[in-house]
């Protein structure tokens, strides 16, 4: 630990994580806060060497961690098992070793982690037809369980910490911590991630980060477009399109970006050379790129919604939403549905497969000015001119939080870790955990020089880009970026070759646009309606054996199996059994009486039949 003086009057302690993630501690938490210097002006920063060592170790680990996939996003609705199972044989002992294993049995695993990676209940044996198939299915289930536990175990390798800002006794209120304070107290590399581009003559700016967070493209209303590696500040291209620019958007790699200009939408390459002019996308106000479907979606001034497949260069669908200009729009990253905000407080959701909105929601009483969906596709944030900010559960369309903010928010954006950025006027406020709990005050606050027109969190970095009238500003937001990345999915450090390979793979795994729907897991379900029709048709034929299929599993309804009910059932069953026994006894007694009276009844001879000879 080394110490340095903080020029500002307030004091705080910061722990810089290995990836430059920042963590502010309160005084009581810092171990050596008492040693040296006046109490109010001490800042503790991890030494450069320590940091380097830690980084080396973590880089090694990261390589391993990259192999781990997060599968929690799949079929998340099914309930998971919790109990840990034994998949791993107890660790192998070497020949020379003697004595009992100090850690016998399988490696213990947190049931919560297991539940997180669970794929839900599997196939039961009795629902499968032949013995061989039953065995096969059982084996498969075991393999799936193995995969789940392995994924859970591998979580050990995701050890990068999330940064956080925490106040102390003197500066308890985190929103008052300024960017300069943060920049002065973090390591040099992290500090360079906060910067300011002063471009007052090119008007309000729009910005976009690539999916891996490495590159940034900014577009000024007055035609200035620049793409650059924002961490190293290496400029890849800078052009003036000589037209008004309304939105900029990266396509699947840092080699291409789309710019919504005065009339048409253009695609430029990283050298700033115009590749295409998409005349079908005219008067566009807002662009969105759906990376897994290779679709460039655009909302136009005339109220048209368009989807262009950029891998084929084909317009997929285009239609008029009939709800006015589509300037407030975002995508739901989990199901590629577009969410748009309109006047009259309406929020609509659109897929290219349906001309009507998939869902239409009355979110506010006044015009909606900002919409944002978080990465998991769970929460939707909407803001209207009525100075309200609402958080919705997208899956149930249920309002979870309703905040009243100091001004109508013009821009909303979720970060990789679920922080919510809210831009209002020239101020941006960042909220933490605002979806699950009702927070009282923002986590951070920053004032730009002029009116803010665009905000974006940098993926996998603790930074946020703000486009405003006077240029572009990047601020540090501890804890905004996801510290662990999956290099096979998105790799911020990818080489040229990796990028090319990833591009090809992404193209091979491209999801057709027909599969876009509110519930993407629907694809894995059987189309029961058609199936039932088929079966009914088959069963109507006389000469065929009717097929019996269990379409819907029988779930016990609530209230069907209560204790009182069970008691009643038991009582009746018991009574029935008693009655049966009694009846039997009565019969026996009657028979005995008859025997004693008449003698044994003669056994009736069976009539001879023709078939007897075959016995």
């Amino acid at each position: 630990m080394c110490q340095c003086q903080n020029p500002s009057t307030s004091s705080m302690s910061i722990d810089v994580g290995s990836t430059g993630k920042m963590r502010y501690f309160t005084k009581s938490q810092t171990p050596s806060s008492e040693s040296g210097g006046s109490k109010s002006e001490n800042i503790f920063i991890m030494g450069a060497n320590e940091m380097k060592n830690a980084r080396n170790v973590q880089n090694k680990l990261r390589k391993k961690a990259n192999r781990v996939r997060d599968v929690s996003g799949l079929k998340g609705t099914r309930s998971g098992r919790v109990a840990p199972r034994e998949h791993f044989r107890s660790r192998k002992r070497r020949k020379g070793d003697k004595g009992p294993d100090p850690f016998p049995g399988p490696v213990p695993l947190d049931p919560k982690v297991l539940a997180k990676y669970s794929n839900g209940p599997g196939v039961t044996r009795n629902k499968v037809k032949t013995k061989f198939r039953q065995k096969e299915v059982e084996r498969r289930e075991k393999q799936i369980e193995f995969a789940e536990t392995l994924a859970g175990k591998a979580e050990l390798l995701l050890d990068e910490d999330v940064g956080v800002l925490e106040g102390d006794e003197i500066q308890e209120f985190t929103p008052t911590i300024t960017q300069t304070q943060i920049q002065q107290n973090v390591d040099d590399i992290s500090a360079t991630k906060g910067f300011d581009l002063n471009l007052p003559q090119f008007g309000p700016y729009k910005a976009d980060y690539t999916k891996n967070g490495r590159y940034l493209v900014i577009g000024g209303r007055r035609g200035h477009v620049a793409a650059f590696d924002w961490t190293s500040k290496n400029l890849t291209c800078e052009i003036n399109v000589q037209e008004s620019v309304h939105d900029v958007k990266w396509l699947h790699t840092e080699n291409m970006f789309a710019v919504a200009q005065k009339k048409w939408t253009y695609i430029y390459d990283n050298q700033g050379i115009e590749l295409h002019c998409l005349k079908r996308l005219d008067n566009v106000l807002k662009l969105e790129f759906l990376p897994y479907h290779f679709l460039l979606a655009a909302g136009s001034e005339s109220g048209f919604l368009s989807w262009v497949d950029i891998s084929l260069g084909k317009l997929v669908t285009q239609y008029n939403a009939k709800l006015g200009p589509m300037g407030v729009m975002c995508q739901n990253p989990s199901n590629a549905i577009l969410c748009a905000g309109h006047g009259k407080g309406i929020v609509t959701m659109w897929s290219p497969n349906m001309r009507e909105p998939v869902a239409k929601m009355l979110a506010h009483r006044q015009a909606v000015r900002g919409v944002a969906v978080d990465l998991t596709g769970t929460y939707l944030a909407t803001a209207g001119t009525d100075r309200s900010l609402k958080i919705w559960d997208v899956r149930q369309f249920k309002c979870l939080q309703n905040y009243r903010i100091s001004a109508g928010a013009s821009q909303l954006e979720f970060s990789g870790r679920g922080l919510l950025g809210v831009a209002m006027g020239n101020t941006v406020e960042i909220f933490k955990d605002c979806c699950t709990t009702a927070v009282k005050y923002p986590y951070m606050r920053h004032r730009a020089f002029k009116r803010i027109t665009d905000i974006h969190f940098a993926p996998y970095e603790d930074a946020m880009g703000i486009g405003h009238e006077a240029g572009f500003t990047s601020i540090l937001v501890p804890g905004s970026g996801d510290p662990n990345f999956d290099a096979l999915e998105v790799n911020p450090y990818q080489t040229k070759r990796q990028r090319r390979e990833a591009e090809v793979k992404a193209l091979l795994e491209k999801i057709p646009s027909e599969l876009i729907s509110l519930d993407p897991t629907q694809l894995g379900d059987v189309d029961v309606k058609t199936f039932e029709e088929k079966i009914a048709e088959k069963n109507s034929k006389l000469h065929l054996k009717p097929e019996k299929i269990d379409f819907e599993p029988r779930y016990k309804m609530k209230g069907k199996g209560g204790t009182a009910k069970r008691f009643h059932i038991k009582r009746t069953v018991r009574g029935e059994i008693k009655m049966r026994d009694l009846n039997q006894k009565l019969e026996e007694v009657a028979q005995e009486e008859q025997v004693s009276r008449v003698g044994k009844p003669k056994q009736e001879k069976k009539p001879k039949s023709l078939l007897d000879r075959l016995k």
Binding site: L74, V123, Q134, G343, R404, S406, V526, T530
Partner: protein, 663 residues
């Protein structure tokens, strides 16, 4: 004999008898008596009886051509008082019915045979059941399945044990190897000769000698291994180092030779010269190698290959130059690693001659530069710079190419052209940047005029109206109609002191905003109406098939009776429950996504009995990007794998027996 005939059965006896009767005629009586004499006076063959044999009706007269001889009949005549054994036989014969059962009908017989065959075949094949089942149920099978005797090729040592020298060459080699006393025989550590030497030494000496020998041998083997390894190194850089080392060594040797034996050195130099001349003649090191060809292709795009090419050209030039400047000093060492074919001798000579070529090159460059200057000035005057630039460059290049007589000049010219281009591009870029900086200030606003007017619906009018918003009376709304989330906290996130900091737009802008915001304040009423309409639209409607005037009077003012109308209305099926039924603020589009439906499975495939079980079977992801690698490998492991180059034999019955033994 009599016994035998009796055993033969009645049929054969009667046959022989009937034959005899016809053939032998009068001798028959004599024959009978003969037989009787042989047998020892059988009682039943009385002459009287024989004579009275015409009476066929009597049971005793059994020897007729048409009568059947039954054992019981014959035994009946045996006197009851005669011997115990005879009695026994008689009793036995009477107990048994000496009669064959009737043969089965043809199909029945066949069926029996089939059944027997089936049973046997079933038992035979049943032996395999366990094996087949286990194989079918096995998770993975790796063929060929492990057997006791593995067919493998012999190792070298094994083959050596039964090797016999056959051809004359082999025999000679064998004689050399085995005949010599200094070869080490298998199983012994030392050769014969070494042994003999050791035996002549004292113990201590022998020990030392032995050690030394062992060490030498070990060193030899190490060296061998090292050489073997080094021979196989393919690294370019390593080869370069080796080449340089060798060159240095040779140089040193030459220098030494010059000191010690100048004549020999001179001779060697001449020799080298000669080889160089032949190489010059053969035009080696031009552009013939594959490597260079590819480099030449790439030279357009990559600077590295350009440099490589240039290097090669230099080398080529050095080699091609006349070797008259041998006395020139050997100052610098020119590294040339571009081609593997370069000889050391060439390198040596190249070094001698380098200085002179350097001078030549400079002169050449100067002349070309001068030419370029003249052409550039002449063309520049005529045309505008941007458009004609390319043309000029091309032309220039062509001119220069014509001028260039030999390959060296040609490449030098190419160099210059490239230099020029780069310089040009730099200039253009710098100019462009300048232009960009100037433009916005000088450019009229025509491009941006529409930009402001065509704004986002709200986003452009971004500034907020704190004061007016507070003053403006909120429209009166029916709280029941608007579905507000009930149990949701409404924290006020207003920081009063900070609120003033937020910059707002002008007052007019605010006014416009407010007007727009409250343009339609009955949002909830509108919305609920819209929802009602949507629900109505999605409901299937009843079909009214009643026809006015059909079966009753029609005309103006007459209505169809209620009963009739009821009869002719086809009712629509009941509507399933809507997902948004209890959510006033939501309209969900319940139309099935037809495009998605075509991708769904619409039946339950074979082993699954229910929809849920099939869905559960495909619930887990398999892909490498979803599952850890180890699990992925296990999930996709093939059921059957075969080893390349191994014959897969059919199952042998032996394996079956072995399995039984084991269990």
């Amino acid at each position: 004999m009599g016994k035998k005939s009796a055993r033969k059965g009645p049929r054969s006896t009667s046959e022989s008898l009937s034959l005899d009767q016809s053939e032998l005629g009068g001798d028959y009586d004599g024959f009978i008596t003969d037989i009787a004499a042989l047998e020892g006076a059988p009682r039943f063959l009385h002459t009287d009886d024989v004579e009275g044999s015409h009476d066929l009706a009597t049971p005793s007269a059994t020897l007729g051509p048409s009568s059947k001889l039954s054992l019981a009949a014959m035994l009946a005549s045996v006197a009851p008082e005669k011997g115990r054994e005879v009695q026994k036989v008689k009793a036995q014969a009477q107990a048994k019915e000496w009669k064959l059962s009737q043969p089965l009908s043809d199909p029945a017989a066949k069926m029996v045979a089939r059944k027997a065959l089936y049973q046997r075949a079933k038992a035979d094949l049943g032996q395999w059941n366990a094996l087949v089942h286990s194989r079918r149920a096995a998770e993975t099978l790796s063929f060929p399945i492990r057997t006791e005797s593995v067919n493998r090729l012999e190792t070298q040592n094994e083959a050596a044990t039964h090797f016999k020298a056959q051809t004359p060459l082999e025999r000679e080699v064998a004689a050399l190897l085995h005949g010599s006393a200094s070869t080490v025989k298998a199983g012994s550590e030392l050769s014969q000769r070494e042994e003999s030497i050791l035996s002549n030494l004292s113990y201590q000496e022998a020990l030392e000698k032995r050690k030394e020998l062992a060490r030498l041998r070990a060193l030899q083997s190490y060296q061998e291994a090292k050489m073997k390894r080094q021979r196989k190194i393919k690294s370019r850089s390593y080869r370069k180092v080796v080449r340089k080392q060798k060159a240095k060594e040779k140089l040193r040797e030459m220098e030494e030779l010059q000191k010690t034996n100048p004549e020999l050195a001179q001779e060697k130099l001449e020799e080298m010269d000669r080889t160089r001349i032949t190489e010059r003649a053969s035009l080696k090191h031009r552009n013939s190698s594959k490597y260079l060809k590819t480099q030449a292709k790439r030279a357009k795009y990559s600077k590295e290959s350009q440099a490589n090419l240039q290097e090669q050209l230099d080398l080529h030039r050095n080699l091609m130059a006349k070797a008259d400047n041998e006395k020139a000093d050997e100052a610098k060492e020119n590294s040339s690693d571009s081609d593997d074919e370069i000889d050391l001798d060439d390198l040596l000579l190249a070094k001698h001659q380098e200085a002179s070529f350097a001078v030549n090159k400079n002169v050449l460059k100067e002349t070309i530069m001068a030419e370029q200057k003249t052409t550039r000035s002449s063309t520049k005057a005529k045309k505008t710079p941007k458009e004609t630039r390319q043309a000029v460059l091309k032309k220039k290049a062509q001119e220069q190419l014509h001028l260039a007589a030999n390959i060296d000049d040609l490449f030098n010219v190419a160099d210059h052209i490239i230099d020029d281009k780069i310089r040009d591009r730099c200039k253009q870029k710098s100019k462009k940047i300048d232009d960009n900086q100037e433009e916005p200030s000088s450019d009229p606003e025509d491009a941006y005029e529409d930009a402001d007017s065509r704004a986002l619906p709200m986003a452009s009018k971004d500034s907020q109206e704190k004061s007016t918003l507070n003053k403006a009376p909120l429209p009166i709304l029916d709280p029941d109609r608007f579905v507000a989330p009930t149990d949701v906290s409404v924290p006020v996130l207003v920081d009063s002191e900070h609120e003033e900091d937020i910059e707002h737009g002008g007052a007019e802008q605010q006014k416009a905003d407010i007007i727009e915001a409250f343009a339609d304040d009955q949002v909830d009423i509108d919305f609920s109406a819209e929802k009602k309409a949507a629900i109505l639209a999605s409901k299937p409607k009843d079909i009214d098939l009643s026809l006015p005037g059909w079966g009753s009077w029609g005309g103006q003012g007459l209505s169809i009776s209620k009963r009739k109308r009821k009869r002719f209305i086809v009712k629509a099926p009941p509507v399933p429950k809507r997902r948004d039924e209890n959510k006033g603020h939501l309209i969900l589009n319940d139309h099935k996504n037809e495009s998605l439906r075509s991708h769904q499975v619409n039946q339950v495939p074979f082993p699954f009995k229910s929809v849920a079980s099939f869905e559960a079977s495909i619930r887990a992801p398999v892909g490498e990007t979803f599952v850890p690698r180890v699990a992925f490998k296990r999930l996709i492991k093939p059921r059957v794998s075969t080893k390349a180059g191994h014959v897969i034999e059919p199952i042998q019955k032996e394996s079956l027996l072995k399995r039984q033994k084991r269990s």
